[in-house]
Point group: C2
Chain length 207, copies 2
DNA sequence: TGACAATTCATACGTTCGTATCACATCATA
DNA sequence: TATGATGTGATACGAACGTATGAATTGTCA
């Protein structure tokens, strides 16, 4: 395991952690390399040394956050049998991931309105997640369990649920006094989002 | 109409417009007062003079963008009769507003992950919009047209639809080649989101 | 028209930013 | 233990930032 001559992974990891927390909370521009290195207990030059630049560190953070989410969603998409159950499983996995770790949607959501192209790790995750959902939608339309309509729009209707939960968790907390990170509530929120997603795309003439 | 001794509203308006466009596209931090004043054809000091500070200008922009959306949604919430129709009308109004003018969700979505309190204009609009939806939900639960469940979570399921359309318009365009700003598609997207929202909260035992 | 307030302008100030520089410490290997 | 690569540290640099300042201009009333 010791590829590096020294055990250099230490500060590198701490930089990644500190950067993730700060980027999530304040965004890229509002977070200075001094903020990050101070919080990581590292020297000012550490980011340049380990990552080359602030932006490269940012992309590393994105990758470290987005990849696990996409993996988990992809796994959920393969677990269940029927298309509707698959959709529900995907949404549940998404919500559970996102309520324990809202980093990915927070970061993604800051990038979406930008004009610039999405950073590659985010774009890839987005594609994988929406692809998993759309596959289930198309399969469901074939066997009649999902109602007719543009698969892309139906996918959006499904994806919006868990995504919004991740981003609007703060609203739930402030307006409704309901913290989706609390394990007691998490199951309820996940169940609810999954049900809503299922109902939104299920074929009414069958259900 | 001329409250101001001079017709000073000219540059002031241009500053608001330029700032809105840039804040939407790049966010607050990535937009400098020099960007704004240059684009508005104004002097560097114009923002300080007319608004006092960059942040005050930002809040003015937020108010000018968020207020019309909340007004439109509130009006839509009063137009229809039954709770489900009201929900559908709200979502339609929301989507139509947001596809022609995605500024409000773009700005809001950048603020949501922040730790700091929401800027007042955004918080107020958020409250008004979610309140309008929740009113309809509660009414629908009373008359049985909306299924049982936490009204807050059902509200979230509804609000996520139009909101996500506003934010993910870019994704629709890039992944699916479907531009929701195109009037031809707008109606389809609005209809679709409204249907999805209705299906997500409708009482299945009745429908 | 003359005077005064409102506005626009050019420019300066102090701060913070990301990165570069180069000296120093640490450790594996010979 | 000498050596050389790897990592860490203190500090410097130039650029960009938001705002302040005071002069020049503009427009409106007496």
């Amino acid at each position: 395991m010791k590829q590096h001559p020294k055990r250099s992974g230490d500060i590198r990891e701490r930089l990644l952690d500190a950067a993730r927390e700060l980027f999530v909370r304040q965004g890229y521009d509002a977070t200075s390399v001094r903020d990050i290195t101070t919080r990581a207990g590292a020297n000012l030059g550490a980011i340049t040394y380990h990552f080359g630049s602030k932006e490269a560190l940012y992309h590393s953070v994105l990758a470290s956050v987005a990849r696990p989410l996409a993996d988990r969603v992809a796994a959920a998409g393969k677990s269940a049998e029927g298309p509707l159950d698959r959709i529900e499983a995907i949404v549940r996995a998404f919500v559970e991931h996102v309520t324990t770790q809202p980093d990915a949607p927070s970061l993604l959501v800051r990038e979406l309105p930008n004009r610039r192209p999405l950073p590659p790790p985010l774009a890839e995750t987005m594609k994988r997640n929406m692809g998993a959902i759309m596959d289930a939608i198309v399969a469901g339309q074939r066997d009649g369990s999902v109602r007719a309509g543009d698969p892309l729009l139906l996918t959006l209707a499904v994806a919006s649920q868990p995504f919004f939960v991740g981003v609007a968790g703060r609203v739930l907390r402030e307006v409704g006094g309901l913290d989706p990170r609390d394990p007691a509530n998490r199951e309820r929120v996940a169940h609810h989002a999954a049900q809503a997603a299922r109902a939104a795309v299920a074929n009414p003439t069958v259900t």
